[in-house]
């Protein structure tokens, strides 16, 4: 990719995704380790490795695009969503994993469609692996919504919070027309697609939890 109009914005977007994945990986280890079942906890650790690997791939890609040496990844660059940094329990973890993975899927597929030749080597495998994480989080969303007592309500509360932040983030990207104009992203209306996907999964409870 050449250094053209919109390049700094694209770098910021790629680093934001990498930061989100870095923080998610960290939270999957810290919080996912205490998952409600042994299987859920072991799967969370496996996904943490995946998310941290994706973050590293994206950091390396942005360094390469800028012609900089590959940096030793020890922390995020400060662009991760605030809700992710604050994840402190299983409900927040699943709500964040679910919503942020949908947003990442929309964004990375849009990059792949816009620049298939340049982006394919770096992110196609990542997008495929991410789909598996989406299956896990979607299944857990359904499970928590069908749970008993206060869990569905508390989960919807956690989902509403992270959903609001993801919606704002995607709206901001939708409004950054340069990314589409210079063909870094193929699609617009990411916010709408995101909410459509979430509402589809949540069913009737989807509209009630939407704060965007």
């Amino acid at each position: 990719m050449g250094h053209q109009l919109g390049f700094p914005l694209f770098l910021e977007l790629a680093e934001s995704i990498a930061d989100n994945k870095f923080v998610l990986g960290d939270r999957l280890v810290e919080v996912g380790f205490s998952g409600p079942t042994l299987e859920a906890a072991l799967s969370a650790i496996a996904m943490a490795q995946g998310e941290l690997g994706h973050a590293r791939t994206l950091y390396n890609w942005t360094s390469k695009l800028q012609g900089k040496p590959i940096r030793d990844v020890r922390s995020q660059t400060g662009k991760a969503l605030n809700s992710l940094v604050k994840i402190d329990n299983w409900l927040e973890l699943i709500a964040s994993l679910y919503t942020v993975n949908i947003a990442h899927d929309l964004l990375l597929n849009s990059v792949l469609k816009a620049r298939p030749d340049e982006a394919a080597a770096s992110i196609r495998k990542l997008v495929e692996e991410q789909k598996e994480h989406m299956v896990y989080s979607r299944e857990w969303v359904q499970q928590l919504l069908q749970d008993e007592g206060a869990i569905p309500g508390k989960f919807l509360q956690a989902l509403s919070q992270v959903r609001g932040e993801v919606t704002d983030w995607l709206r901001e990207i939708d409004c950054t027309h340069e990314l589409v104009e210079v063909n870094y992203l193929k699609d617009t209306g990411l916010e709408e697609k995101f909410n459509k996907e979430v509402n589809l999964c949540l069913g009737e409870q989807g509209a009630a939890s939407h704060v965007g």
Binding site: T37, E39, A40, L42, S43, E132, E139
Partner: protein, 70 residues
């Protein structure tokens, strides 16, 4: 729901029952099996809901008896 996990380590090898997972759905059971039993690069891996196994013969009462008074 309980699922038994079956795997084949290489082409031509026998299909083995390598363990079990508990999951609410088939998708999650497959996901759990893949990540819990990842000690080998299995050529085949599948899960079967235990309730769907058609047993022809089972030891009757063996385990129930052992659990009495536990």
């Amino acid at each position: 729901m309980e699922y038994d996990v079956f795997a084949r380590i290489d082409r031509g090898e026998r299909l083995m029952c390598i363990g079990s997972v508990t999951a609410p759905t088939d998708n999650l059971a497959r996901f759990y099996a893949k990540h819990v039993y990842d000690e080998e690069n299995w050529v085949e891996l599948c899960v079967v809901a235990r309730q769907h196994i058609c047993w022809e013969r089972l030891p009757k009462g063996l385990y129930e008896k052992e659990e009495v008074g536990v």
